[in-house]
Amino acid sequence: MSTEKQLYTVSIYTENNIGLLNRISAIFQRRHINIESLNTSPSEIEGVSRFTIVVNMTEVNMKKIIGQIDKQVEVIKAFYHTDDETIYQQSCMFKFRSNLLFEERNIQNIIKDSNARIVTVNKEFFVIEKSGKKEEIDQLYDELSVFGIMQFTRSGRIAVTKDEMKITTLLESFNN
């Protein structure tokens, strides 16, 4: 097992519970593990939530953490995957002054070349959105930063795995 740190995407299927985020984040916090990004959402199964957490750590420690997460009562199942084993995306938004659209021709080219999307334009400002890998978003940020970004935000990673998750089978076995 690798003893080198690397990025892992942790996927946790859970019951939808108010205190669970606290319980799960405490598992990382207690061991001084920085959470690179965190996202919670519904999953493919009705009533089941999905946490997507990105952490940078060794596989040995990753396995131990998964054990600690998995044993929480309201956690259905926790998995960890490397980047190669997942399809993942992040999203980001930039806000700029609207006059840039007319004064800086290049900005339109950047938007087009980066596959970003204009969400809204009004007299004062316009907003663009881009989904992709973190590196692509970082690159776009670098290119756009010269124009003066009014606001920027990036979401946590969301990911689906190449392998099947088999949560439905697992839930059926709980019921039997």
């Binding site: 859970t14 019951e15 108010i18 205190g19 606290n22 319980r23 405490a26 207690r30 396995k63 131990k64 054990g67 600690q68 998995d70 044993k71 009562v73 309201e74 956690v75 259905i76 839930l171 709980f174 019921n175």
Partner: protein, 577 residues
Amino acid sequence: METVTIKNTEVATKVTERISGSEAIVRCLIAEGVKIIYGYPGGAIMPVYDELYKYKDQIHHVLTRHEQGATHSAQGFARISGKVGVAIATSGPGATNLITGIADAQIDSTPMVCITGQVPSHLLGSDAFQETDIVGISTPVTKWNCQVTKASQIPAAIAKAFYIAKSGRPGPVLVDITKDAQFEEFDFVYEKCTKVRSYFPIPKTDISTVEAAAKIINAAKKPFIVWGQGIILSEAEEQLKAVVEKAGIPAAWTILGASALPTSHPLNVGMLGMHGNYAPNKLTNECDVLIAIGMRFDDRVTGSLSTYAKQAKVIHFEIDAAEVDKNVKTDVAVLGDAKASLELLLPLLNENSHPEWHQQFKDLYAIEYEKVIKEDLYPTKEGLTMGEVIKEINIQSKGEAAIVTDVGQHQMIACRYAEFNKTKSNITSGGLGTMGFGLPAAIGAKMAAPEREVVSISGDGGYQMTIQELGTIFQQKAAVKIVVLNNEFLGMVRQWQQLFFDKRYASTEMVNPNFVAIAEGYYIKARKVTKREELAEAVAEMMASKEAYFLEVRVEKEGNVFPMVPSGASVSDIRLE
């Protein structure tokens, strides 16, 4: 508000009627078979106390003198009986005072349900009087917790709480109930919880792992069993004995595993860990197969992990999958309940005896006896030793007493020298090391098992952390035998200061009160012993007492506990002096 008066048990259990949330709480407890609870009233839990008043014939509420005492009593109750202990408190400080006991129960896998009152739901988050986020605070130290804001949620929450606390690897749970939910009326129905969709309390045992374990054990020349509380929690004492005897394997215990196999059993080779016995520590690093059963390789047991049993194949029988490979890398992990797994293992084991291997344990015991045990139990010096007090209790209780200890030197000495004939006889704070645990835990133990002799053994430090529980003993007429081994020091810290801090005794010297007078102030019979010649007679008087009895023994001031594995050292570097 409409009130429902229930005249007797039959009516209470048969009729499904509209009742208040607070009455439902009490009815849920009754439905779970709870007969004793420990707690302390206050504003946000008062509706429940009002119902407890009504149901006092069915549930005995023990008013402790501090909420921490309530949790430790509930723990003592759980540990001696194997049932779920229950503690109850009000919001705010009442709830936060439970935390030490909850943390203790979490790390020592003790089934406990805590119920706390909470401010009315419309005041949540408003910094109301006695409001605290107890669900947030208790999250890292509970197996599960929840907040209830509607009466109709109460039965399901409490049913789930009991199920989770007791099943699988047990632990503490907390249910926080707002005051408006306690007042609200609803149609009460109670159904016990038998499963939670996302929760697998006992992992399925893979028979191939048991076969692999048997194969390794059968081929072993120097097999060694290290067992923990898992044996007691799964009631696998007979199965452990059968495995040990059939395969002729020496077996040692963690502090929480004590008493699962009688002390006198020839294959019981003693306690593991920092102040454990010499042979099991030394030979951990000589065995060829290490068979861990229901234990979690705590650092106090393993010492330095990088030098722990590196020569051995490691087999781990464990109910909690997260414990496997957490501290020690296993060759074979057998997941599942200890009792069921050992039953599968037994027929696969060859009959064996390992006389030369046993002899190694005996030889090292002889060294430990000469260097440490002899002087502890049969001292030639003037000062009384803690060991000789324990020996006297052994003799006079015939090894039948349940020993409840606090934390420190007396705890290590008691666990090293106490004779246990019966299981569930050693109640102590192992993982958390909670000073002040002993006295209230002894109350819970005595009330859960009134037929048993329960001896609380504390040091002068820990005793004073929960000394107020003498009031509970007095009020409940709990016939706890209380022994304080007084060396006028926080002895274990002083020992470390002596060994590792050049005898700089920073804040470890205790200037103590008149303990006998304090016990007598609570109308508890009390006696102080300062001389060896008085000891046997005083212990006899204590044992003969039908009521609570307090015995202070002035022991030598600067006695040390040996053997000792210094912090961070290897188990095989265990020191005898």
